[in-house]
Each structure stands twice: as C-alpha cells, then as structure tokens.
C-alpha cells in the first residue's frame, strides 16, 4: 500500500525528526520505504539513508508499507510527516 504526501516538518527530515521518524518506523514492525515520486525508494528504518536523501520541508514523498494493518501504519506515519517537529526547538 502506498501514499503520496508533502513533508511539513519545519527543517525537513534531519536531526531529531529523522531520528523520531526512524524510531516510529522500527516500532511499527512493518517494512516501510520512503522516496521522491521519481526517485529511488529507501528503507525508512535507515536513519542514514533518510538523512542522505535530504528530504526538506514541502518535499513530496511516496511512502509504501507492506504487511497486515498497513493502512493504520501509513496513517500514523503520514501524521508524523505532516506535523512540525521543530516548532518547540529554540
């Protein structure tokens, strides 16, 4: 199952948001990939691949989730990516 969405985390998927996102993916227990619509999809549980991909605020990404309950996992991860996690930081 896949979904296309726009990242809305203030400074993109770097640093803390990247860490939190990877942790959320790992906790889901599902195989999840993330990539740009025309680009290569990477393992979303890999913090290194995510940082290297350099996803920025406003970027369109495609999330795919395999396995049971994938709709619910997709919903949760979409929520994460469309929330600003840098807002509280000084």
């Amino acid at each position: 199952m896949e979904r296309t969405l726009k990242i809305a985390s203030g400074h993109g998927l770097h640093a803390r948001p990247a860490k939190m996102f990877t942790q959320a993916v790992t906790a889901s227990g599902h195989r999840v990939t993330i990539g740009r619509p025309d680009g290569k999809a990477v393992n979303a549980a890999s913090i290194l691949s995510i940082i290297a991909a350099g996803f920025e605020n406003g970027d369109e990404v495609v999330l795919t989730v395999e396995g049971d309950d994938s709709e619910k996992v997709l919903d949760d991860l979409t929520d994460f990516l469309t929330t600003d996690h840098d807002e509280a930081a000084e």
Binding site: I47, A52, E87, E90
Partner: protein, 563 residues
C-alpha cells in the same frame, strides 16, 4: 622527519597553554587493510554485528547519563550504528573476502562520503560517522573504545575531532587544551571549549603528525600551535599566561579601550535567575533581557502582576545600572500560541516582533505597564527597546508608546538592513539603537539562521554586515545617541574591537564571554580600533575581514604585549 614549527587553526577564545601532546588513541590506530579474511564471510558478519551492537549499547548507556541535547545526539548515533542499510553495506563488502574491520570501515565511509559534500549540517553528520567507525573498528580489534588512556598528568588532547560520546566521559580536569585537525568554530569541540573555558584550536591540519609527548604552545588568540618551543618562546608564553592570570584576577573594572574610551560591557539574559551570575562575572548591566520566557508554553499572555514580579527580580539585581529590556519578540523561531499570525510561508519575513505586538496592542500595553511598575519599585536604570523594527514610522510609534507608559528611555533594535541604512533618520526619532547581529546577518545575507546548509553565510564578520554596523555607529556618533550590539558578534574578542572602532558604545553578550572581551578591548586605543575596523571593512569576504583585522591588530600591538 619533517620539522614542523608552527601550525595554523581557528582559535576558540583567547587562552594560551603549554603542555605535552597526547593523541586520541582510538583515532590514531592503523586503518584496517584489505587483507583476506581467514574465517569466512559468515563468521566475519557475526563479528561485525556483535561489534556494532556493542558500540550502540555503549552509546545508549552514555545517553542515559547525558543532558538532554547530548542525549538526542547520542541516541541518533546509536540508531546510525544499528542502521539496516549500513549492515547491508557491510554484508556486501564481506562478499569480496575482506575482514569485518575493513567492511565496517568501508560501509561507514560510503555513507560519510554521501554526506560530506552536502553542506555544513551534513558534514557534521559525516564527522559522527568517522567517530562511529573508529569505535566499531576498535571493538573488532580488541582495543579500548576510550578516547584516551589517562597518562596521569595534564595534556594537550590532539584528535581529528571530538564527539559528544567521548567528551561526556572525558576527565576535563586533565585537559590543558583541545587541538583538532578537523572541525570549525561551530563544531562540538569548539562549543564545549567555550562552555568549559578550555583553550582550543580547531581545524589545525597537520597536528596529527606530532608524536605523543611533543611539547607545544597552544595559542588560541593567534590561532597557532608552536611546536617544540625554544627557551625564548616558552618565556614569552609564560609571561602572557601570567599576564592573563593577573588580568583575570584583577577586579573587573568597567569596559574601556586602552586610551580610556568607555565601552560598556553588558550581559544578555533570558531569565531573571541569570542576573546574579552575570553580576559576579562583571557585567555592568544588562544589554538584552529577553522576555519571551514569560510567554512561551502559555496559551494566554501572563498577567501584568506576573510580569511585574519577573521584571522586578532582574531590575533589583542591578541597582543604579542600565537594564535594557526587549519587548516580546514573538514569531519565526519563537512562535507563541496567543500571538500566532497564522500560517506564513516565510515566518522570518512575516508578522513577528513589533509587527505582531502592534496586531495585539493589549499585549504591548500590558507589558509596558508591568515594566513601568517594576521600574518604579527598583533603582535600576530601565531602557526598553522594540524588536524587528523596519521603518521610521514604526520607530516613532513604539518610542511614543514606551514614553507614554512612563519609561523615559526608548530604543529600537537594528536587525533589518532598512533601519541600518537610514540609521540617522531612525535615531532622530528615538533614544538609542541596539544592533542584533544574528538577525542583521540573517537578513543581510538572506540566509536562514536555523538552516545548517547555509550556515557558512551566517558570519557577522562579513564586510556587508560590518558596513551596516558602521552606518549605525556613525549615526550614533553624529546624534550623540548610544549604539549597542547584542548578539554573538559582541562575544568575539577581536570583533568586539572592530565594533568599538565602528562607533558602538556598548557590547552585550553571554556573561561567560565578558572577561575575554574586556581584556581584548583594553589592549587597543580608539585610533587602533578604528584602524582595525577599517582593515576589516575593506575586505571582500568574511574570512578575509577576520584575517585583515587580526593582521592590523598585530601591527598596532607590536611591542605592547609583555615579551
């Protein structure tokens, strides 16, 4: 062997020490070779997994004992060590028959190379990966993962770079100085050195070739390491160390240039509780009291009574002295629930600072009422200024509002180039100006302060920024009105001299920087400071401006520093 006499780097602070070199032993180990494995890929993969898990476990343990910011970094590093894509890379490398040491080092290096060229933020993550690779290889080679083996005496720690995981467990009492071959003024090493008052030189290429035990002088002020100094060089260093100690232990007088021209040294404060420490460190008052702390995390604005109490606490700590309070600076990096301008495409260019206050005038009136009440109850000299002022009309508006509240001294912050460029007309409408160099640099260079990828542009030494400062300084001198600087720039001992030379009459900074800046100002006369400022203004790039100022400063002080 090549005779190295002198190494150049970026000095942090102005300290100087003499001591023996000790290399970070983990980093100094030989790189893994591509010798063939004798136990087979399967067994090597097990070794690699075990080693990576051990490193990750150690990072998590250190994270638990660390402060919050360090914990975030260490947890992210633990995740990088456990990264599935990294392990895929290790497995692919092992297929060619190499050892686990080699495959792990290569897999980390591959990701580091991907990140190294993609801007400053990514380059820092690449440094993280070098460190993690060193750790994992050390485990595989059966060596200690500790950065140094305590030699039992004080030493100058030499490393490629220092990682939070290392410094979290390092005995800093033994460390005379840090010298790193990589890293810049914003690296973890530099930040730690500033916090702990440790002498440091970063980006000193070539330092790794010095053998352990080599005697060196680390001179942060001149940005140099002198290797195997002779008796005369040693005597010079000892004299300067003694002079610095005497200066530091002398009672902190008011800030002034060598010819007696006063340059007030003030503190930046973010909470009332910080006032006492600032007084102890010799602050002559407060140049920037940020009031956002009262408003953050609250759904509604605090009451007039709550605010009065907080302002009073600060004013009481500075009887008879100046305390400059900045009106609420909401928006951009400090969004407040009750003053939210709604969705903005570019919040740094949106309804922030004074613009937000004008849209919620009750918040402005309440804050002014509370400030006036606190002023009436204490003996400090209260000055109030507005953030994010862009026009003469705004200057007139806010100056009148502050005066009407019964506060006699009103001013504006110079953060937007527009007000710097017509500073004469702005100062004609208000009592003083205070330059916020962080935002002024951000708006002059069009480089988001919070974006690591453009961090290189965020340098207050840029001649374009200095020229704007000189406009404001000249307008201040012509009108006889005070011009201050509150921002990181004021804390840089050499840049502080440049600012004084440009006509700035007070400098406000973190209290820990006061002592170094005071000593630096006292070395130069007003004529020296003008010459140094002139050299910096004439440069084309930030780095050139810094170098030109340093060269001009060395010329003016030749023969003045005790030999």
């Amino acid at each position: 062997m090549i005779e190295v006499q002198e190494l150049v780097g970026v000095g942090i602070g102005t300290g100087i020490v003499v001591g023996p070199v000790l290399h970070a032993s983990r980093q100094a180990a030989a790189a893994p070779t591509d010798a063939a494995s004798t136990i087979g890929a399967e067994a090597e993969l097990d070794r690699a997994r075990t080693a990576l898990a051990a490193v990750s476990q150690q990072l998590r343990e250190r994270a638990e004992a660390a402060d919050e910011a360090t914990r975030d970094v260490l947890e992210a590093q633990a995740l990088m060590t456990e990264d599935p894509a990294l392990l895929d890379g290790v497995e692919a490398g092992l297929a060619s028959g190499v050892t686990a040491e080699k495959a792990v080092a290569d897999a980390f290096a591959e990701f580091a190379a991907l990140l190294a060229d993609a801007g400053e933020y990514f380059a820092e993550r690449a440094a993280d990966l070098h460190d993690l690779s060193d750790r994992a290889v050390a485990v595989l080679q059966g060596r200690s993962t500790d950065l140094v083996v305590d030699p039992g005496h004080p030493y100058v720690l030499v490393a490629r770079d220092l990682a939070p995981a290392d410094t979290a467990v390092l005995d800093l009492d033994r460390v005379l100085a840090f010298v790193t071959s990589e890293g810049g003024p914003t690296s973890h090493t530099a930040i730690l050195a500033r916090q702990r008052g440790i002498v440091a030189l970063v980006g000193a290429g070539g330092v790794e070739s010095l053998p352990d035990g080599t005697q060196v002088i680390v001179d942060a002020e001149r940005g140099r390491v002198f290797v195997d100094p002779d008796a005369a060089e040693l005597a010079d260093a000892e004299a300067r160390i003694a002079a610095r100690e005497a200066e530091a232990s002398a009672p902190a007088g008011p800030g002034a240039l060598a010819d007696g021209t006063p340059v007030k040294l003030l503190a930046n404060l973010g909470k009332p509780g910080e006032a006492k420490g600032a007084v102890e460190m010799g602050a002559e008052g407060v140049g920037l009291f940020r009031t956002e702390f009262l408003f953050l995390d609250s759904a509604d604005a605090p009451t007039v009574e709550e605010q009065t109490e907080s302002y009073r606490e600060v004013l009481e700590a500075f009887p008879g002295k100046r305390v400059v309070v900045r009106l609420l600076d909401a928006g951009a990096d400090k969004p407040l629930a009750f003053l939210s301008p709604g969705e903005e495409e570019n919040p740094a260019l949106g309804k922030r600072g004074l613009r937000a206050l004008r849209a919620s005038e009750q918040v402005l009136q309440d804050q002014l009422t509370a400030l006036a009440a606190a002023d009436a109850a204490t003996d400090a000299e209260l000055w109030v200024m507005a953030p994010m002022v862009a026009t003469v009309e705004e200057t007139r508006f806010v100056t009148r509002a502050i005066h009407e509240a019964g506060i006699p001294v009103a001013g504006v912050m110079v953060e937007i180039p527009s007000v710097a460029l017509i500073a004469d007309r702005v100062l004609a409408q208000t009592d003083f100006a205070s330059i916020g160099t962080n935002d002024l640099t951000q708006y002059t260079m069009a480089a988001d302060r919070q974006l690591g990828s453009v961090a290189a542009l965020q340098d207050p030494w840029h001649p374009a920024v200095l020229r704007l400062v000189s406009e404001v300084g000249a307008a201040g001198a012509a009108s006889g009105k005070p011009v201050g600087v509150c921002g990181e720039a004021a804390a840089d001992p050499l840049l502080a001299v440049v600012l004084a030379g440009l006509g700035v009459t007070s400098l406000s900074m973190s209290p820990t920087a006061l002592s170094d800046v005071r000593v630096s100002l006292a070395r130069y006369s007003m004529d020296d400071a003008r010459a140094i400022a002139h050299a910096a203004l004439a440069a084309s790039e930030a780095a050139d401006a810094r170098e030109a100022a340093r060269a001009a400063a060395d010329t003016t002080t030749a023969g003045k520093i005790p030999a």
